[in-house]
Structures are given as C-alpha cells and as structure tokens.
C-alpha cells in the first residue's frame, strides 16, 4: 500500500507540472491544482500510515553517478513532516485556484508549474534517504522557491528579495556541502553518514555540527541569517507564502534534526546552550520587530522567525539534555519542538492564506488602512482570528500547548549538571517567556487594528469576501489546527513516534498518563476524561503531564469544555439580568460629543509606539513628522508621520559586511592582473603549499 503511494504522489506532481504548462487556464490551472491537492492528501495519508506503524516505502534508484545510487524512503520523522506538507499543499492548492483566477493566463501557467515543482521538491526533500539525493532535492527546492517568488515580477523589490533569499540559501548549501563531504566519506546513505559522524573527533565534529546548523539555519531564518525572510515571504503570492513560512522554513529545522542531531549522537556540552541562546535571541528580536510592522504579511514573516527561534531554543535544550545524558528529557524537548513545528505550520498556513484573502478583498495589507473587516469578510476574519489565537499561544488553541510544553521543559533545566549551561537555559527561558508575552501583543494588535473597528480606507470600506475556493482552502487547515490544539492526546503520540529514535526513547506515556494512572490530585479528572472518550481516541486520555515527576498538568480538552461552559453561563447570566430591568441603548461615550470617525481609532502604529519608544535604542528607530501649514488647507491638513525601523542587524552587521567585501574585492583586484605568468605563479604557490602541508 505505502509502496504505491510515494510514486503516485511524485507522479501526480509531475503530471500537474505538465498539465499546468500544456493546458490552457482555467481548465489547466484547475486540473493541475486539483492534482496537487490530491497529491497533498495522499502525502498526508502516507505520512499517517508510516506514523501509525506501517513500514515505510523504500526505493533505490541506480543513476550511475559516481556518488552511488539514490535512496528513497519514508521514516517516522519524515512522515510527520509529510503530513504537515501534504495538508498544507492541499489547502494552498485549493486556495490558489481562487487566488490566481484573475491573473494573466501566461503568468498563471508559469505560476502553477513552479508551484507544482515546489511541492515536488518538498516531497523529495522529505523522502530522500541519502545525502546526495537530499542535497539534489534541496537545491531544486531553493531554486523553485526563488522562481515562485519572482514570478510576481511587477515590483523590483520582489526581485531583490527573492535574490537575497536565493543567495542566503546558496550560502547555506555551501556550508551543507562541506559538512556532507566530511560525513559522506564512507558513502552517502544515512546509516553510513551516521556511522561516520559517530567516528569523528574534535574539532571536526563541532565544525560539522555548526556547518549543518548554519546550512539549515539559513533556510530556517535563524539570526543572523534572517534578513531575507521578512522580505521574501511577503513578496510571494499568498499560497506560496504559506508554504514558505509554514513548511520550507521548517524543513531547515527538519534538516537540523535529521543530520546535526541524528548523525552526531554524542554532542559536545556547549552545543546545546549555544543553540538555545541563538534561538532565544532570534525569537526575542523577531517578535519585537513583528510588533512594529504594518504590513500583515511582514508581521507574519517576523512571527515565523520568532517561532523558528523558539523551536531552535527547544532543540538546543534537547541537545543540552542529551549531552548531560538525560535521554528522557532530551526526548521531551524534541517532542515539544516538533509539536510546535506542527502547530506553527497549521497556524501560520492559515494566517498567510487569510492575509492573502485580505489583500485580495481590500487591495491593501497595511494595518493602518484596514479595519472593520469582520462584517464584509466573516470567513477570512474567523480564520485569521483562530490562526492568531493559535500563534499567539492563547489557551486552548494549538500554539498554546506546544509553547507551554517548551516553557515547561525549560523548567527542567535544573537537571543539567553544568552551572554555565543552567544559567544560559534560565536566561533563555526568561527571554522566551517575554517573547511569548510580546507575541500576544503583536497578534492582538494585528487583529484589533486590522479586522475590528471601522474601516480606515476606501479599500477596507469596500472589502469583499474571498471566493469560495480560497475560503475552502483556509477552512481545510482550520480542522487540523483546532484538532491538534483541542485533542493533543491524539496528536502527541504521533509526534512522539517521529521524535523517538532521533535523540532518545519514546516519551508518549510520560506525557499522557495511562488510563486510571496516578495523576495526583487530579486523578478523578483524568479518570473521567479517559472514560469519556475511551474507544473514541487512540490516546489514553485528555490530560497532558508535561514532564515526568511534575505535578503540573494541563488538558486543553477540558479547557475547551470549561471555557464553553463559562460562555454559556455568562450568556445565561446576561439574559437573566436583562430580564430584571429595562434595556436601554445609548451611543458610545465620547466626552459629550459623538465621535464616529475612523481616524479616532487606535492605529497599529500607535498601538506599538510605546514599545518602540521603550526599545528605541534597540530599534534604532526614527520618526519623521511634518505638520502641514494649516493655512494651506484651512486648518485641516493631514499630518504626515512616518516611522523608520531598519530590519535587525541590517545596519549593525550587513552594511559593514558589504562594505568590507567591496573593500577586499577592491584590494584583491590587483591579483587579477590578467597576466598568464602571474596565474601560473599562483598555481605554483598553491602546489608548494599543499606539498608542504603533506610533508608536515
């Protein structure tokens, strides 16, 4: 069964490319996207089968290349990502049908073809089972992502952003290549690479680890390689943005787990804390910048960096525990990280699709020009709201449990024997807690200023709801988003199976107490929860205990029930009170006057401004204000106010870097004299150096 699925998926993708190119839209577009959606569902099904315990399919393709045959297979880790990628692909493909409906026919053909190529590349990366196949798929992915972004070529800034993305990706590939060359000395199959990795000595081991982190981090947007992400993700069409932010970025994390973790099973003691620190800084900086953005998609892109930072911090925690020999905790941290990968993928996917709908329906993504969208765009607004609640980690939505698990795992850091590591972890935990709080602020701002209130511009005033296919695409993701949040007992064993074997044992039973097990003071609730859903759910109950020996427990399922209960009680209470007295409606209090002007609403800029002032030194932000001469416009001129906050590290790192590169290029120009004798001389010099190195 699973053996047929894999070729079928890849086959569907290839056929989709052919149809997209060969058949005229709208038919070609619709059929190709439909095939992609089916392929996505099949991929998710395949992943599900593998995680459920079926053996993964495996192939060997002998290509006759000197590097050996290409291996293809699906293991549990890949299967988890296949589920995510499959569902997102299906949603994005359905969504794209409406999104591209009014685009120029020629562009649509290219769009759909490139999109299909991108999907094929994603699947290939996930099923590649040797280093060469992986790198090949990785490169196809990088280039197809580049093409998918630049197809919207109206805007020169888009070209620049896409090129930046490609450049950083290639930089990462160079680092990966170096690491793979070292690891692949005994062959490029994964077992061979792992065996080689185990045998490596210091300092090569560390170099390989950090080369891998650098290589995959470039794709994931870990600081300081995050610069391209907030440029490229908003630039792409929204269904591509969704895949970029929800899947492709996370493939970088997949790579770190697959190679840096699995192939180097005995980490150095400092890797984990360093990784955690990197992740924490990335998360904190990114969320602060997210708060300043007025473009919805930029907010989402910065939030993606923040979540990557959070996951990387958890991965670092896992490495720290592993280095300290705490296998169960290491596995817990990894499960938390992978669970967050899943919740973030669905949440961010929904958000990007909803952002695209807003752009589609109003013609703008500027929060200061939106507002009042809940009435004209109900489905989009609900999708956005659920996505926001999840990504902002509001209980009981999906992001809450995963983020809470990460923070709970951080609370286990006293188990680490080394004081230095403990200090780093404690500091990182504090930074991440602050990040989580700021994320709530950033997303409250997004929804409060962008969707509720009164429309601030013509476009927002005349907003129209997205067409059916776009609505359906968004709805397709809401199901899994709600399910994994509300029923974590269903999802966690799957994640646990994916994580098991990479760094440690299976911990599902630690997370989800056995039915009628010892759950301390909450035993009764645990028992009821288990009994109620017995036979309906594959898991053992509704209650999660985040770490062994800990008395903190949480059950999003119960939370949903209780919260729904509160809502019902409140509604009943309000009704009862209303029956007591006469109901009188009065206009909003406006200081004795009626202010119904949309300009009297708080804007997104105003919402974030206090924080911008507090962190002014960090943001290096400037505000430019020009008050028009009232005489010119009868005293009612519009104020011009603009804020500038350059992206993080742009001035601090990239500008000087570029300057020094040009400076060096300038200096080295003298070497490139064009004189043949000079070049022969250089060659001679290198030969002498090599000989000397050999001799020594």
């Amino acid at each position: 069964m699973t053996g047929i699925l894999l070729p079928a998926i890849l086959g569907l993708d290839v056929v989709a490319i052919a149809i997209a190119l060969g058949v005229r839209p709208p038919l070609g577009r619709r059929v190709a996207l439909g095939l992609l959606a089916i392929g996505g569902i099949l991929a998710a099904t395949l992943g599900g089968f593998v995680l459920a315990g079926s053996g993964g399919p495996g192939f060997v393709l002998d290509t006759g290349l000197p590097t050996g045959a290409l291996h293809v297979s699906v293991d549990p880790l890949g299967a988890l990502f296949l589920i995510l990628a499959g569902l997102l692909t299906a949603a994005a493909a359905v969504y794209a049908d409406g999104y591209l409906a009014h685009t120029d026919a020629g562009v649509v053909r290219a769009h759909v073809a490139v999109f299909a190529l991108l999907v094929a590349a994603i699947v290939s990366v996930l099923v590649a089972a040797d280093g060469v196949a992986f790198l090949f798929a990785w490169e196809v992915l990088a280039w197809s992502a580049y093409l998918a972004v630049i197809l919207d070529i109206d805007d020169p800034r888009v070209g620049r952003a896409a090129f930046l993305m490609l450049a950083v990706s290639e930089l990462g590939t160079a680092a990966l290549l170096a690491a793979f060359v070292v690891l692949g000395a005994n062959g490029f199959t994964f077992p061979a690479m792992i065996a080689r990795g185990e045998a490596l000595d210091e300092p090569v081991r560390s170099l390989v680890f950090w080369a891998l982190v650098l290589g995959f981090g470039a794709k994931a947007g870990i600081m300081p390689l995050q610069l391209w992400l907030p440029e490229a993700h908003p630039a792409a069409p929204s269904h591509v943005s969704a895949l970029l932010s929800a899947i492709i970025v996370e493939l970088g994390l997949y790579g770190i787990v697959r190679f840096a973790f699995a192939a180097l099973p005995t980490p150095e003691i400092w890797w984990g804390p360093a990784l955690t620190a990197l992740g924490a800084v990335t998360a904190a900086v990114a969320i602060l910048w997210a708060l300043l953005q007025n473009d919805i998609k930029r907010v989402l892109a910065y939030s993606t960096i923040e979540n990557v930072g959070l996951i990387v911090a958890a991965l670092g925690l896992s490495e720290t525990f592993r280095a300290a020999g705490l296998a169960v905790l290491a596995a817990l941290a990894l499960v938390a990280a992978l669970y967050h990968v899943s919740t973030h993928a669905f949440g961010k996917g929904v958000l990007f699709l909803a952002a695209g709908s807003v752009d589609h329906g109003t013609g703008t993504r500027d929060l200061d020009r939106l507002g009042g969208l809940t009435r004209p765009m109900p489905v989009t607004s609900v999708a956005m709201l659920l996505g926001v609640l999840s990504v902002a980690a509001i209980a009981p939505f999906a992001g809450f449990l995963s983020e809470w698990m990460i923070l709970e795992t951080f609370l286990q850091s006293p188990a680490v024997p080394l004081l230095g590591s403990r200090l780093v972890l404690v500091a990182a935990g504090a930074v991440l807690a602050l990040t989580a709080a700021t994320a709530v602020l950033a997303f409250a701002r997004l929804f409060a200023t962008g969707f509720v209130g009164r429309p601030r511009s013509r476009g927002a005033h005349d907003a129209v709801e997205a067409p059916r296919s776009m609505r359906f695409g968004m709805a397709l993701l809401l199901g899994p988003l709600l399910a994994i949040g509300v029923l974590p007992a269903l999802a966690l064993p799957l994640v646990d199976r994916a994580a098991a074997g990479v760094v440690g044992p299976s911990v599902a039973m630690q997370l989800i107490p056995p039915l009628f097990g010892n759950a301390g003071p909450y035993a009764a609730l645990v028992a009821i929860g288990g009994a109620t859903f017995r036979g309906l759910l594959p898991g053992n109950g509704l209650v999660i205990i985040p770490a062994p020996g800990l008395s903190t427990i949480v059950s999003p399922t119960y939370l949903v029930l209780f919260e729904a209960g509160f809502v019902v009680l409140t509604a009943l209470g309000v009704r009862a009170i209303r029956r007591l007295g006469r109901d009188r409606r009065a206009p909003a209090w406006g200081g004795g006057m009626s202010w119904r002007h949309p300009a009297a609403q708080y804007t997104a800029t105003a919402y974030a401004n206090p924080l911008r002032l507090i962190f002014a030194a960090l943001f290096r932000s400037k505000a430019l204000l020009s008050v028009p001469d009232p005489a010119a416009s009868g005293g009612s001129g519009a104020l011009e106010y603009e804020q500038q906050a350059p992206p993080p590290l742009e001035r601090e790192l990239y500008a000087p870097l570029l300057r020094s590169v040009s400076w060096f290029a300038d200096k080295f120009k003298v070497l490139q004299s064009g004189d043949t004798n000079a070049y022969v001389g250089y060659i001679l010099l290198v030969v002498v150096l090599i000989v000397l190195l050999r001799v020594l």
Binding site: N294, D368, G590, G591, G592, M593, S594, W595, R596, H597, A599, A600, Q601, Y602, T603, A604, T605, A606, Y607, A608, N609, P610, L613, A623, L625, V627, D629, P630, A631, G634, G635, S636, A638, L639, E640, Y641, E642, Q643
Partner: protein, 527 residues
Amino acid sequence: MLHPDADPARVRGHSRGGGATSFSRIEPLAGAIPVSATAELELEGLAIAEWPDRVRRQTHRESVMFADLFGTADPDGGVSLTLLLSLPDGGRWLALRDRIEAESTYPSLVAGGFPAAEWYEREMLGSLGIHPVGHPHPESLLRGAALASADMARFAPLPAGGHVVDFPLGPVRSGIVESGHYGIRTVGEEIVDLRLQLGFKHRGVEQMLAAVAWPLAPRVAERISGTDGVAHSMAAAGALERLLGVDVPLRARQLRSLFGELERLYNHAGYQADLCGATGLAVAQAQFDILKEQILRLAARIAGHRYLFGTIVVGGVADDLDDAALNDVRDTVRPVRDAFEALIDLVATSSSHQDRLQTTGRLTLEEATRYAVVGPVARASGLAVDARRDHPYAAYDALRPTLHVVDGGDAAARSQVRLEEGLASADLVLDLVEELRESAPLPALPSPASRTLPGDTVGFGWAEGARGTELHWVETDRAGAIGRYRVRSASFACWQAFARCVPGDNILTDFPIIEQSFGLSFAGSDR
C-alpha cells in the same frame, strides 16, 4: 509718548461717524493712580498698515508687549480696531486705533510683526466679520452660538491619515473640570499635534457688562472667572473710575491689594493642590487644599464671601475691615504662610513629583514673548512681566512686589514660580495688615453710583490676578451709555501659547500635568 512733545494730558480727538468728538484723555486720578500708569491714545490719522512701523520707530521695540487687539462695532456700520500695547519700562500703556468698514479686510498684524495677535484677529473674524489679510490661520475662533450651530462634523476629529490617531478629549472630561475640547493627535504615547477648541462656555459677559447699569459692572465682572473675581472686579472698577475721574482713597486701595493678594494666595495653593493631584502626590494635594480652604474661610469671615465677590465697588471697596478682622487676617495668614514655606521645600525634594514636571510642556522665552503670555506662565519662561510692577495700581506703587522669574519654561518652572509667588502674596498680606492698622479709616465719600458716565469716553483698567493681567476696556457712546466693554483675560492670552507647547516631546500622560501647570481658566477665556 508717541509725540514726546505732546501734552500728555491731552489726546487729539478721533473722528467718529461725522463731527469730530473729543475723547477725553483718561485723566490721571490725582493722588490715587500714578500718572505714568494711564493709557496714551493715538486715535487719529494712523492707518493699521502703519502701526507696526510706527511702533517700531517710536518705541524701544523690545520693551513693547502686545496686550490686546479688539474691534468695536460702530453704530454706523464701521469697525474701530484698537491695538493695546504695554510699555513696561516706562509703566505706560499705548493704544492705537483705526477705523475700517465692516466686513472689509485689513492687513493682518500677525503678519505685520505682532504674532500674538493670532487668536485676537481670529476672534474678530468670527464676531465682526473683518478679515485679516496675510493671517496664517484665517479661520474664525468659534464661540457660543456660532459654536453651537456649527456642524458637528467640525468637531469630529479631522482625518489625520495614515498612522496618526485622533484622540478627541472633551468637552465633557473626567473629574471636576471646566468644559473645553482638546483635539489631540497621537501616534501612541507621543502627542504630535493639538487643536484647541474653546468657547464652549461663552455666555456673553462682555455684552452683559455693556448692558447692565454700570455700578453693577464689578458684580458681573466677578463672574467672568470666579477664582479671579477680585482681579476682574478690580479691573472693571479701575476702568470705570478712570472713565469717571474718581479718586480712590488710600485705604480702599490698600484693601483692594489685600483682597487681590488673598485671591492670589488661595489660587496658588489650589494650583499646587491640583498639580500634586495630577502627579499623584496625594498628601501634598490635601495639604495645599487645606491652605486654600483656610484662606477661603478667612474670606468668608472678613468679606462675607468665600471668593471675595462683592468686595470691590466703583470708587472703593464695599466694606472697611475693622481691627478684629485685620487681626483675623494676620492670625490666619501667618500660619498659612509658614505651612506654605515648609511645603515648598517638601515639594521641591519630592522626586516622584519633580520628575513628572521637569522638561514637561516647555514654553521657551522666545515663544512666550511671541505669544505675549502673561502672569506666572510668562514669568516661568523668563519673561519678566507683572502688572503690579509694570503698571502699579491699587496700593502697589508703595508695595513694590518682587518678581519671581525663572528660566526653565517647563511645568517645574511654572510650579516653582507659583510656589514663590504664593509665599510672596502671604508676605504682602501681612505687610498690608500692618499698613492698614495705621492708615486712616475709610472716609465717608459720596458714592459715585448716582453719576452718569461722560459721553464718548474711554476707560481702561487692569489688575494682576493669579493667572496674569486682566484688562478691562470701557467705551461710552455719545449719550454716556457703555457702547463697548472689552475684557482681555489672562487665560485668553495664555491659551494660544498652551496650544503650541504640548506637541513635540510630550506624551499623553504628560497632558494633564501640562494642563494643570498652566493653571488657566476656560471661563475667563470664553467669557
């Protein structure tokens, strides 16, 4: 002073409507008001366009302070424009007057070198319909009926556009405050623009002052701004006394100064209480409130009214104070003075209070001069003006109060100036009590109330209240009835500077502090 060789006792007539009628020179009140304190009128043959140049040529430009600009609708349809200037160095006032047709235009004095005339010209645009040419913001300053009938959309926040939020505040605001509307524009925390809309409390006091029997004018003037009642009634009485040529006995003048200083004292205490309330210094607020209440109770005992209404009448004061009352004043004010002094030190060292005041709502000397602000607001910006010193009235020629001038221009400076002035007022009251003990009792003079006002005459009076100099200007028509009564309150002079010093470095939470630190009255400004 325009014509150094001219006889100061005579000012040439002004053609009005037809035949030349003579404006009587405001006669120096022998023995009562120093000669130098009277107004000089240049009433003839000088077009508005020539005013700035004339003023520049014939005065020390830097010592000229803009005081007032107003129009008088003549019965025949013309409008007489009067520019009133203060020349503090010589203790003189200077009035220039020209006549234009109604609904016509004239060269804006804002453009002509009197930037402070901005609101005054906008006020005339609204009330008389005369258009200043070259004015930077030629919209009428809406008040009263015009404000009520104006489209509500006018007060709806203007589309700020983009990132800026309109933050409308008022006219009904929280707490026990006067009504006025602030159109604040913010980008979150920072205030980037402020549009003031006053005039909600316009109740036509000027018209009423002109219509009411003239001896009652001080009673109406008290109700321009209740907490400046003494200053306004003193200015009104002064204007009518100069118009009538009435002499005010020394003791009455001393009593006027006493009441004036008591009013300044309770105002300064109340001001500090409000400011401490704005910064959350609750004990200090209560302490200053106690001092204010003690003075108000003293006033109720000695004058029968907590706000000293009814004390000033044309020609003198309503009641003399006997020795028992004077003792009461001394015994009440002395402990208040000592408490005030102790509180000054405490307030100055309360860091939570001072932190909120320093650099908040800064009004530079340049801006203060530009908008010709008065009173403690001016003195806190380094502008040394005080009608009690520059144009002595009542008993101030002998008292010579010291000026408290500070450079800062911020809320802390305004607070400091008022603290020092409160103490100085208490000292002046104690001095006055001693002098009153020795001065002759109030003579039984015939009341001037039965007299009729001379026709075609101008009377001008002023007083330094707690908020600055209040100016009252009375013109009679040919029959001796009051044809025009003009009130320039200290608050009106300061509000336009307030509107300028809020945007910029200040954040939303600074706003109530800036408002309290100016301590202005809406009622006085709206009239």
